[in-house]
């Protein structure tokens, strides 16, 4: 096959073989723009590594070191933990590897694609904040682009089965980065995020409630229209993003209810929280590298 006709592909590595990393593996594997060259973790017993092996993808238990052992990686998707990513980010940068950070480390530029992907084309480290931020910041922005908001609060409820040790040990970081994103990217003066882990069986679908304080005198029609447009925009890369409760005014704040139904790549569709951050990761990397 002539190399002139071959489309450019990005050589990708996933570091972190937990729930997020494993879901990402399936997405990257079926995306012809990427060559998934490596899945690296630290736990030899992890299901993620076992599945990668089954699929014939090179694996390593050396964690992030394996990326440098390979030496030809264009982009690393880091789904380890805030601490690990913070430690490796400078080395990815030195090696000229684009880092997509799926942890709450927030070393580089925080991006929520339907809000601020444009303008971050030169970033070498892109932070995706958290699954809850990806789900809710678009809604906050949808409100703040048509009304002034003094405060935004979000509640992310995720099924117990869909969050692994990485997330459970990072709720502090998760809370901070998500709260900040509601203000910095969402456009509210101040933000607060809550996360609730729900152990119900059958597992609940990831749901998010967004409250935005706008005062009593607002144009709810404009808000509704803006929200519906934003939902459509997010659905372009996360088809399972669903508006459950259309924006309504409750005293001085707008309340919006969302559900994210996952694609079911790894965990079943209740784990929309995985899907939203991995779908975003792939979309952002593709745009950044290949357009």
């Amino acid at each position: 096959m002539s190399s002139l006709a071959a489309p450019k592909r990005a050589r990708a590595a996933i570091v972190g073989s937990g729930n997020i990393g494993t879901d990402l593996m399936y997405k990257l594997r079926r995306n012809p723009r990427f060559e998934l060259a490596l899945v690296a973790g630290v736990d030899p017993a992890s299901e993620g590594l076992a599945r990668a092996l089954e699929l014939g993808i090179a694996t390593s238990t050396d964690g992030a070191e394996a990326v440098f052992e390979d030496g030809r990686i264009d982009v690393v998707f880091d789904a380890t933990s805030a601490k690990v990513h913070a430690a490796y980010a400078p080395r990815y940068a030195d090696a000229g590897i684009l880092a997509i950070d799926l942890t709450p480390a927030k070393v580089g530029k925080s991006v929520v694609p339907s809000v601020n992907l444009d303008g971050n084309e030169k970033a070498t480290n892109i932070n995706l904040i958290s699954c809850a931020a990806q789900a809710t910041v678009p809604m906050v922005r949808a409100v703040t682009r048509v009304a002034a908001a003094s405060y935004a609060e979000i509640v992310a409820t995720v099924s117990s089965r869909s969050i692994g040790p990485g997330t459970r040990q990072n709720l502090e970081e998760f809370t901070h980065t998500t709260s900040n994103a509601l203000a910095e990217i969402g456009g509210a003066d101040r933000g607060k995020s809550l996360v609730i882990v729900n152990p119900a069986d059958p597992p609940i679908i990831m749901r998010n409630t967004v409250y935005v304080v706008v005062g009593k005198d607002v144009d709810m029609d404009a808000i509704r229209k803006s929200v519906l447009e934003m939902v459509a925009s997010v659905q372009r890369y996360v088809p399972g993003y669903t508006l459950l409760v259309e924006p309504f005014l409750r005293g001085d704040h707008v309340m919006i209810g969302l559900e994210v139904v996952g694609a079911g790549d790894y965990l079943p569709s209740y784990a929309g929280n995985l899907d939203i951050i991995t779908a975003v990761a792939v979309a952002v990397a593709e745009k950044r590298l290949l357009h």
Binding site: E153, V155, T157, S160, P165, R168, Q169, N170, L171, E172, T175, H176, K192, L194, V195, I196, V197, N198, P199, A200, D201, R207, T209, Y211, V213, L244, V245, H253, M255, G257
Partner: protein
């Protein structure tokens, strides 16, 4: 007979009954009365702990800092405690508490999610506070699972594990089974925090103590979610009658109950009303008492149907948005059927 450490949670769990509206003044005077009565530990703060003041679960009348400072200023002998849920509160909240003189940090999670508390248990310990692993809705899982989760808390350095039976759903034999299972799994002390939805709070306490629990939670006038907590002044009297050692003085605690009652009057004491019975029966988190009543009234549905729905959906603490959703759905179904 057992040596009991008494933890009064009027000024934290009681906030659920009082719409999170305790003022620093109420905190100061109640804490002083509790301290004078010889209560060992006095917990203070928003019903959902540090960082809980939100649109989602209700905004407090005063900041965490103001409430904590009020308690610490009023107390000479007792230890002041705070509660926090990772996912709601953050390190900064623990740091504030430690700085203000809080001695006990109780870090809470749903009873099956102990590993979400590790970060904050360790941070609280670093800050020099006595840490407690607090398992919410302990009646929503099996005794075996509860024991596993308690063992995790011990491994994170918790000073004791508190079993909060938030729904008031269990009967004494079921409480005994759980405390027994936890006792076999950990070597740290065990605490128990019942709710009174089926009128069993005090009886459940005695059953828990018989199996080895040594930290007991109660609230003055029973102020707390659902039908309320075990009523502190009743518990003290019952513990003494049962022959257990408790440092709290009987007359002193009766005085504290009266002081508190006067401060919050005319707000009624929690009673076991029909909704509370339904909560306990259906195993639904007690913190929903006001949201269920409000949503049922606002959207036009039977609160009992709403409670059964919430039980079926196995809602855990702090899912007030589901209350609104199910109330709207029930009211739509009613209108369609009409």
């Amino acid at each position: 007979m057992a040596d009991i450490t008494f933890v009064d949670v009027t000024l934290r769990d009681g906030n659920h009954t009082y719409g999170h509206r305790f003022t620093p003044e109420i905190v100061r005077r109640t804490a002083a009365a509790l301290d004078a009565a010889g209560v060992d530990i006095i917990e203070v703060g928003h019903g959902d702990g540090l960082g809980g003041s939100t649109l989602h679960v209700g905004q407090a009348a005063a900041s965490d800092e103001e409430l904590v400072a009020a308690a610490v200023s009023a107390v000479k002998h007792a230890k002041v405690a705070i509660l926090m849920l990772p996912g709601f509160g953050v390190f900064k909240d623990l740091e504030m508490a430690a700085r203000l003189g809080v001695k006990v940090a109780r870090i809470a999670c749903h009873c099956t999610e102990a590993d979400t508390t590790e970060q904050h248990l360790r941070r609280a310990r670093e800050l020099g506070m006595f840490t407690v692993g607090y398992l919410v809705s302990a009646g929503m899982t099996s005794a075996e699972r509860l024991a596993e989760e308690a063992a995790k808390l011990e491994s994170y350095g918790a000073g004791y594990v508190n079993l909060a039976e938030s729904q008031g759903h269990l009967v004494p034999a079921e409480v005994a089974e759980r405390v027994r299972a936890v006792r076999k799994a950990v070597s740290i002390p065990i605490g128990f925090h019942p709710h009174n939805n089926l009128g069993l709070a005090v009886g459940n306490i005695l059953a828990a103590i018989d199996e080895g629990a040594s930290y007991i939670d109660g609230s003055l006038k029973g102020f707390g979610g659902g039908a309320g907590n075990a009523q502190t002044e009743v518990v003290v009297a019952a513990l003494k009658r049962a022959g257990h050692e408790v440092r709290t003085d009987l007359f002193g605690i009766l005085d504290a109950a009266q002081t508190f009652h006067a401060l919050v009057a005319p707000h009624p004491m929690p009673v076991i009303d029909n909704d509370s019975i339904m909560m306990g029966y259906a195993n639904v988190y007690g913190g929903y008492v006001l949201p269920v009543k409000r949503a049922a009234a606002e959207y036009g549905c039977d609160p009992r149907d709403l409670i059964l729905r919430l039980g079926e959906r196995k809602v855990v603490a702090a899912q007030e948005d589901v209350v609104v959703e199910e109330a709207k759905r029930l009211s739509q179904e009613r209108r369609k059927a009409a």
